[in-house]
Structures are given as C-alpha cells and as structure tokens.
Amino acid sequence: MKNPPALYLEADNVSPDAFAGKTASQIAELHVYEGNTTSTLGTYFEVNGNAGATAADTKIIVKGDVKKVKYLGFKMSAGELVVEGSTDLYAGGWMTGGTMLVKGNAEAFAATGMKGGELVIEGNAGNYLGAAYRGDWRGMSGGKILVKGNCGSDLGMYMLGGEIVINGNIDVHVMTHAEGGRTIIKGNAKSKVGGQLVDGTIIIFGTLEVMMPGYKYVDDVELEVLGTKATFAHFIGDTGERHKKKKGQIIYGNLYKKI
C-alpha cells in the first residue's frame, strides 16, 4: 500500500484467483473501487513480482496499512494470501480453498459463507465470523478458522460444517441456527450461546455468563479437545427448537466452576 484511500477501498480482486497467470504490471491494472469510482490496484499499491500460472501456485503478501481495505481474499479457491497488518470487512469472504493469514485484526464478516480452505487471524476477529450472508440458511459449510485473539458476536451463524477455534474471548451469540460444524472457545463466553441450535458442537474452556434456558444438563464427560484432556459438563439444546434432526450439543469446560 503506497497511497491509502480517502474513504474505503474494495479490493475483491486481491486474491490468488484474480492474480493467477498475471505479471506485476497486469496485476497493477486490476480494478479496485473507492466509493462509486473505479481505479486500478496500481493507484494504491506498489505491485512487485509475478503471479504463478494458477491460483494454487500463487502467493500474495499484502504490506502496509490496509485497515480500510475490504474484500481481501474474496472468493479465493486456492493459493496463499498473507496480510501483514489489519484489514477491514469480508476478509476471506466466500472462500472455498487455499490459506489466508491476517497478522493483525480482521473486521466483521470475515469468512462469510466459507466453503473450504483455512483462515488464520492472529489478532482479533469482528462480528459474524464464518456466518451466513443475510437471509441465507446455508452458512459456513467447510474449512477451518483460527482466531488467536478475541472474537465479536454472531460467530458461525447458520454454520453447517467446518471448524472454528477462538483462543480468546467471545461476544454474544455463537452458532445461532447452526446445523453442523464445531466451534471451540478457549477463553470466556458471555451469553446467548447456541440459541436455536439444531445440530453442531460448541466447546467452551472458559466461563459462560448466562446459559440459554433451552439447554439441559446431561452428565460430565472426559474429552480430549485440541490435545487438552479435561472433564466437561455436557448439555444438550436448544430444546426450544423443533428438532427434526438429532439434538445439537453444547459442551463447555468446567475448570472455572471448580474454583
């Protein structure tokens, strides 16, 4: 990034798929959008190096301040994308493959409608991480997401498959309406966790401020999660839902309870 935008930049062309088979100068000609004006990647970024022949053998490293850049890694299907700083909305949105690494924070709607691949956010993630687009009942169906920091609200809404791991704490609403997949919260959760959950798994190592009334205690179980063996209290829910399928399960660590 050489010239930061006055407003925000939509760089949905910054993905291995869009770069594949292009030279540095061709890449610099790809379109980016600031508000209702269209310009080229080269206007804002200095582009070095050529892309590989296919997305799979293309690696992109985004340097500089891209806090105001949206749609990085949009719909990427293969290859590698590294963002050295923090980025804005829709990081890895609708991605189907490849790996994306954000070394700073990612704002809301990261990995929306993700189908596959891997997204790692070393800082904090915003709201609606790995959630479905508005109105769609088909949310994240595959792939892996790892957030090393904290995460906002509405994690994995309408999730169908795949795995999300949050090392830090999580805001309200986790896997609302989900019908599959697994989220692991290593830190603490607030409330509204697993509301309207039909199927899928939520694992909380930390505390849970308020449990949804639709969850009922079953028993304590020994589990090994990500290499950690521990005893977990096993709840099932959301019992308010009309489950035509098997009940979803919410499991959270009871370590803190013991103290």
Partner: protein, 156 residues
C-alpha cells in the same frame, strides 16, 4: 404562578441542595434505556427548536429508590455519563415504574449523547441497555435540543 414566589422557592430549594451536596457524594449507576414518550411525540411535532421539546425529552426518569440513593430532589438537573458521552438532563420520578436500577430518557439528542453506538454489525445502535452514572449537577443547564447537538458537533 407569580414569578416572585417561584424565585424564592427556588433559592430555598437551591440552598438545600447545596447543603446536601456538601454532605452526600451523590453518584448512582443505572441501566439506561431510551424510547418514545407521548409528550416527546407531541413536542417533536410542535417544533424541536422550542423549549417544550427540552421539557419533554431533556429529562431522565428514575425510580424513586434510585432518586433517593442519588440524594436528589425531584426535578433536579443531573449529569448522566456513559462510556460514550455525557449530558445534563432534569431528573424526574418515573410515572411508569417501579423499575429500580433502570433509567429512561426519551428518544432524542439528550439520550443520544450517551447511548452505546455499537451495532454488533446489524446497523442498529444499542439504544436500550447502556450503563450510565448519574450525578447531581444542579448548576449546569439543560441545553435546547438543536443547541445541544450543535455544541457537541462544534457547529454554530
């Protein structure tokens, strides 16, 4: 009523509050919600530049028990402060209570000076459920609606 009588009442009232302020540290923490009231509805149609708008919406409705904790008399000006801002309004006893621990400021610039703007990426600020602290601030005036917003925005 006669202005004279009102004035004298007022000074007596002020002296008493000053006395109170010397002896009690009057700060309470409550959960703030904002919303429509019929008086506010009438006032916005009457004109937001008018003092009537301030009378209708430049206030905070507190539960009697909270007023007591605050150590304020009814109709005392108070400063309400949240993580997002601070505003002076008139504290009155709620007519739609009891609701201890809950405070109500009618929708408008006064409430919006302090509400939580967090939308949780839904587009909707958290107009209801902002933790605030309330202090008696009887010497400070409650500004008119438009005046308040202009001040906060640094616009003349």
């Amino acid at each position: 009523m006669g202005r004279k009588k009102y004035g004298s009442l007022n000074t007596l009232f002020h002296r008493l509050i000053r006395l109170k302020e010397e002896y009690t540290v009057a700060t309470i923490h409550v959960n703030l919600i904002s919303g429509r009231s019929i008086q506010q509805g009438v006032a916005i149609e009457g004109g937001k530049e008018k003092p009537a708008y301030r009378t209708a919406a430049g206030l905070i409705e507190l539960d009697p028990s909270d007023l007591k904790k605050l150590g304020a008399w009814k109709s005392t000006n108070v400063r309400v402060t949240s993580d997002y801002g601070s505003v002076v309004v008139k504290a009155i006893e709620t007519t739609q209570g009891p609701h201890p621990g809950l405070a109500f400021i009618p929708m408008g610039p006064w409430a919006n000076s302090i509400v939580d703007p967090n939308t949780y990426s839904t587009g909707m600020p958290t107009f209801k459920g902002t933790p605030v602290k309330v202090d008696v601030a009887m010497k400070e005036p409650v500004l008119l609606g438009i005046e308040l917003v202009q001040n906060l925005c640094g616009v003349k």
